[in-house]
Symmetry: D2
Subunit: 274 residues, 4 copies
């Protein structure tokens, strides 16, 4: 996670690490001249050269391999050497950066890009009655998804929906909600259980205006090499989330940077914190 000063909230870029230096070379060769390629970047703190591309909707994506392993400073050395850092006893004890979610105007175009150009697999998707795709979840690991895109109801390109941190259990998602409540962090919706992916979620806004999700990691992994994507219909989505909570409207319209139609959400939120 790298924070960069900016007038408006949003996602600068997301970076994916390839499996090997060779895999990086192969991706670069495949993408050069595709129209999605931007070019090599010098790298960022803790990682080496990165090849910058953009997806059809305009989100910036870096691919890199060289990385510098984190070494915990003495005061953060863990009791168990197979942890990268001390188990924190402060705040929401997040365990990993789990996934991120973008908004996109044309979900299908983005899906095909990630399948064809980057080798991701589709695990779940929403297909409306008119055949258009409204959301997609993709992975290149055994996690049920590494990122997702949902349709931007405002028709704006390249926006950011949320970033997700995983905790170990559903109870810790509830504790996260308690902590947000006590600390004046705006809770948009949740905790509740997602129908897709079956994890328990909590959506909050960080002080800069970006949406952040806390979810739990469970036993569900996609281990089958021939997994068939789950296709959710409009009728199924109308049932709400797993336990029945309806998806709130701001979920389809509020993204960052905000657009005019999401100022209402932004105002509701800022008025709640002053």
């Amino acid at each position: 996670m790298k924070l960069t000063a900016s007038k408006l909230p949003g996602l600068g870029h997301v970076a994916y690490r390839t499996r090997s230096p060779q895999a990086l070379e192969r991706r670069v060769a495949a993408l050069k001249g595709s129209g999605f390629d931007i070019g090599w970047m010098d790298g960022d703190p803790a990682h080496g050269p990165a090849f910058l591309i953009q997806d059809p909707d305009g989100h910036k994506i870096e691919l890199y391999y060289e990385t510098q392993w984190y070494q915990a400073p003495p005061e953060l050395k863990p009791a168990l050497k197979n942890q990268s850092q001390r188990f924190s006893a402060r705040g929401i004890n997040v365990r990993r950066l789990d996934h991120w979610n973008g908004l996109a105007v044309d979900i299908q175009a983005n899906r095909e890009f990630f399948e064809k150009c980057l080798g991701f697999r589709l695990t779940e998707q929403i297909v409306l009655d008119d055949g258009s795709e409204a959301a997609m979840w993709m992975t290149c690991t055994n996690k049920s998804y590494d990122f997702a895109y949902t349709r931007d109801h405002t028709g704006t390109r390249g926006r950011f929906h949320h970033l997700t941190y995983a905790v170990n259990s559903r109870e810790e998602v509830l504790l996260a909600a308690d902590i947000c409540l006590e600390n004046g962090v705006y809770i948009e919706t949740g905790p509740h259980k997602h129908a897709n992916s079956a994890n328990v979620f909590l959506y909050v806004y960080e002080p800069g205006g970006n949406r952040v999700e806390i979810c739990n990691a469970g036993a569900r992994l996609i281990l089958a090499p021939d997994w068939k994507p789950i296709r959710w219909t409009e009728a199924e989505r109308r049932k709400g989330q797993a336990w029945g909570l309806k998806t709130i409207e701001s979920f389809h319209t509020y993204g960052t940077p905000p657009v005019e139609s999401s100022y209402k959400t932004l105002r509701a939120w800022t008025s709640s914190i002053v």
Copy 2:
């Protein structure tokens, strides 16, 4: 819990056990001729003679002392002798009947009745801006409440809102929601955290139409003999439940037996299960 065949769902009566035979005699003496008394009943399976009264809103209440302790049959003997019965590995593993909730037209009248005639203590309440009382939580134990009444927005007397079973943890409330989801039990709202009492709730309808709550027991007990009731204002309640979920409308109108204005809720529910 005693189930009785009836054309319509609802609560026949609730029964409270007194601390001693003498306490029962004192209550009977105090209530006889008060207008709230109905008279002695022969008792029900597992308990002795009961004195039947009704609260100002018309809910039937029995007071009794003699009780027959439950003896688990051999196949339900627990591994630990300080449990009354085996820890169930089937369904929602409820641990105790926690409280019940009635709807009432005049909350203040009911509160005064339970304080003056039965010695219950008020622990929390909602008082509207016009000074009228909209809800009350009362106890005669160290639990934060043994029962509650909330205002019936349909203006009907004597109705039942819900019965609550407690489980040991918030995680088990979530598991209860999973189980209800899988078994087609209608989830009205939740899981979410109550602002009052701070427990996590799940409201469902049993097949007969009564609302049942599953909540968790936590470390919160009212141990102080001089506890000052918590008074919630309209503004505070408008914030929704603890993590922000708004109280749904059916919560103020759907009770049992149902009245005309709650047929809509009932239809939504029955259509969800067929």
Copy 3:
């Protein structure tokens, strides 16, 4: 909790609040001249005059009624007004002081004292094959115990075994163990489930050498006015704790202040933290 500088760890005194000023007067009248009475103390920060007594084993006990309610400073005001203070997002988030445990040479004498002189009720006990009592759990609330005494295998009088803080769930006891592990707090035994009381425990030593327990509060309360004490036999205790963990030897010998036979435990502990 009041900490007092001392050369050796141990419990100075424990204080119980009576239900009313009248209850305090009645206890004082009953105890004066009994041989267990020591006399009135001026009170301590946050409470009024206290009557000091000692139990047959020599533990000091204060009885008081007047108390000053805690007012959270602005930075610790909770989001929910029915909490006394903010839900902490730091360290082990303990919710209440649950109970304390003393060591005693003659358990039966102590039990009779608390029953006859202070009105506590016995809820569970261990009775050895020779008929002698080895442990007792007593309450004057709906908690399954407010304090306990276990036999001091070193034959020393007046010692302290542990103080217990309750958290809301078993998961939080596990989190407490994770936090202790990361912070070099000596874990004596646990987490595991108690056979008596059925809660999950964790025993650690605070830096001064006193044993502290973290346990969870569950749905189990003693609500029946005619509860029959559970009597555990030697054979039952030999099965270990609920899930089979054997009670470790230091549990019977290490108390505070430490005696010669517990120096071994103390040395093991101090060597683990340097």
Copy 4:
């Protein structure tokens, strides 16, 4: 899981699915004539032809690709279509077959076999002060291990240590212990937290005598392609498991089929269930 009638408990064989038909062909080509190969099997219910091999210690392993996806019968159809089957509300609600553990005489030989012949990666290991390997954890997914081998202190080849089912949370491991306790299932050790892998475990014996573990899945995955194996030393292992529980002796000696030196464990266990 396929159960086969046998006079003695133990593991017949374990089967791994390859990533593709081509991957299977490549493994077969590499293994034929290696001395570890046994030959093609016709397949088992729900999977196609399998190539049988054995590891240096003598454990039987099948490799296959063709598989038949499970279709839940109508009464077990899940509420959420991305689950393979209904969320069970009965017994220990296991979510996936997580890993298995073998005993082996020469751990190093087995590690090299799995690295060189099958492409597994080592994630954690125990190396004794004399340089010999005492345990290893290996994966070919993002799970921190798919199987493990620990040294057989009885010097017997080809034995089985345990099979592990994962549940979603640590709380559910505790519930599993409650369920085993109530149903007379022998609990060998736990629940407690592993130092390696950092999950919470419970070891029990199934009625046939095989050891079964219930553990939780957490947020920990091995996502880095250049993960460096964690090497545990003798001194580190002497600290016991994560929260301090010592590894019990039967863990090093009891495997299936049992050998003479483990009859003691077997007798203790059988006497506990009759």
